[in-house]
Amino acid sequence: MNNDPIIRINRVRKSFGPVCAVSEVTLDIAPGEFFTLVGPSGCGKTTLLRMLAGFETPDGGSIRIDGTSMIGVPANKRPTNMVFQNYAVFPHMSVADNIAYGLRAARVAKGEIIGRVEEALAMVGLAGYGARSPAALSGGQRQRVALARALVLRPKVLLLDEPMSALDKKLREQMQVELRTLQRTVGVTFVLVTHDQEEALILSDRIAVMFEGRIAQVATPHDLYQRPQSREVADFIGVMNFLSAHATVSTPDGMTVEIEGLGQVTIPRSQAPANLGDDPVVGIRPEMLTILQDGTHAAGRSARGSLVDLQY
């Protein structure tokens, strides 16, 4: 990831009437990255993706893909391809014709088309399905067709708009694994849009969390989970308990805070951006808590409590 970014988004704005969908977004995405835009619905992530694809025009700012400005470049001339939320598999064409669609648009030679379609089918595990009609395919198979149809064109960037939202949970988990593997195999930059933070954490190299048209934080899944930079990000990613506290002691190694009802807790410096005298909010991931027998606790890292309910 030492190369120049494949996508440079600089101060991009977009409004629909009075509604501001994307405001002043600046973002770089590196080649070969699996990058995810995550956020609640209406946060502007899909609009941003559609501006990358060329289906929406930014009101201001610039988008460069592979060093070329995309302003004024129509969707059919961009080095991107997209997997749509409902896959948009052409119902009147066979699977093979769907996959060959872009190759025919690019006027690739007939013989080459056949080979590349076969290759793409094999890549998504649909070898032998070429002659089938999309109507005879399951949701997961249609998604693979959509993937093959986009990847067969060897795009610089593959855009995926909520590709898993139409699948049931089990299939979704399976497809997530396959998608990740596929991305590593082909090495193409993937930009995924999802509202599912779990999916984002599983799949991505880096994640941008968006709220109300702006980016709240860009980080790796680990950092995002462990070191959310704001309460809204912490709240959105995973489950978090929020507790009010008061900072009492600050050392180079960490900070000791007084948490109401829990007493004093020392937090490593890297996870404690607050200053002495602040009234920070302390977030604790539930899975980081361990329930200990009375009397076995360690001083400064535990608090006394009573168990009132137990669920499996």
Partner: protein, 300 residues
């Protein structure tokens, strides 16, 4: 008669689109209705076509003579071909005019205005078919709108006579009369196209024109087919329009069928002509449906 029979055939070809019925009970009243008012008269006409008539007496001896007359005599051949030619021209003109209208309505009118536009398109239906034909006479007539305008502008000295009372006038009048019937099914087909398919087509590299021919048109074909059949089939059997604006060379087969049943006292020949026209139109309709299926299957 031609029309009734062919609508029946369309119904049959559309049956595949209709979901399996929840019960025979539900369809039996309309079915009985169709049986009595559609099937029974057709059976009657079929029987009649194999009989003969001597002035007023129907002779019930089986004969193919009516069909032989219907298919071999020049006058019936000419009228049949002319009817098909006129109907084809009307169909092509109507569908070519209706498609852009339906396209505009579906793709360029904001959703909340579509109802209003549909309503506006149906306004011509509020006036009787006959009134609309007469309006065309006013437009195309010797001192009509077109001639009046051209004369006033000094483009012509003498009013043009070749714009009314010929086959072109029949084609024009029928095309206008049937346009809304063609717009509506095409519009419905276009509305049903998932817009993301169009984006996908562009995303995969197609410009607007290629997208139209590879995605929009094939997916709108069910509507186009419906429009073609709805316009073509009844137009072959139209006899009022040719009577009113066709002039001496604009008469069609249905005019001759009417004559056989009325003035000419030859009901069996009339029946044979009607059934021949029906068979011919039915065959053409089926060929057309087959051809469009074939077109849709071919890769593009």
């Amino acid at each position: 008669m031609v029309q009734a029979g062919l609508f029946h055939m369309i119904l049959r070809s559309c049956r595949r689109a209709v979901a399996p019925s929840p019960g025979l009970v539900l369809i039996s009243p309309p079915f009985l209705y169709a049986l009595i008012l559609l099937a029974a008269p057709i059976v009657g006409v079929v029987m009649l076509s194999f009989w003969s008539q001597d002035f007023l007496e129907i002779q019930r001896d089986f004969t193919f003579a009516n069909y032989q007359t219907a298919w071999t005599e020049r006058v019936y051949q000419v009228l049949m071909l002319r009817s098909i030619k006129v109907a084809l021209l009307v169909t092509v003109a109507t569908v070519l005019l209706a498609f852009p209208m339906a396209y505009f309505l579906s793709f360029h009118i904001p959703k909340r205005r579509k109802q209003l536009w549909l309503f506006l398109i149906t306004i011509p239906f509020w006036t009787s078919y006959l009134v609309r034909i007469f309006l065309w006479k006013v437009i195309l007539g010797y001192n009509g709108v077109i001639n009046g305008t051209l004369t006033t502008l000094g483009i012509i000295d003498e009013p043009l006579r070749f714009i009314l009372y010929n086959q072109a006038a029949v084609v024009m009048t029928l095309s206008h009369a049937w346009a809304p019937f063609a717009v509506l099914p095409i519009y419905v087909a276009l509305e049903k196209i998932d817009r993301s398919l169009l984006e996908a087509s562009v995303d995969l590299g197609d410009g607007p024109l290629r997208r139209f021919f590879r995605i929009t048109l094939p997916l709108a074909m069910p509507g186009v087919v419906a429009a073609v059949l709805i316009v073509f089939i009844p137009t072959v059997g139209d006899y009022i329009t040719p009577n009113l604006v066709g002039g001496p060379n604009g008469l069609m087969i249905a005019n001759m069928i009417e004559v056989q049943f009325k003035k000419a006292n030859n009901d069996p020949l009339g029946a044979a002509l009607a059934l021949s026209a029906m068979a011919l139109v039915g065959t053409m309709a089926l060929l057309f449906i087959w051809a469009t299926r074939k077109y849709l299957r071919s890769p593009s």
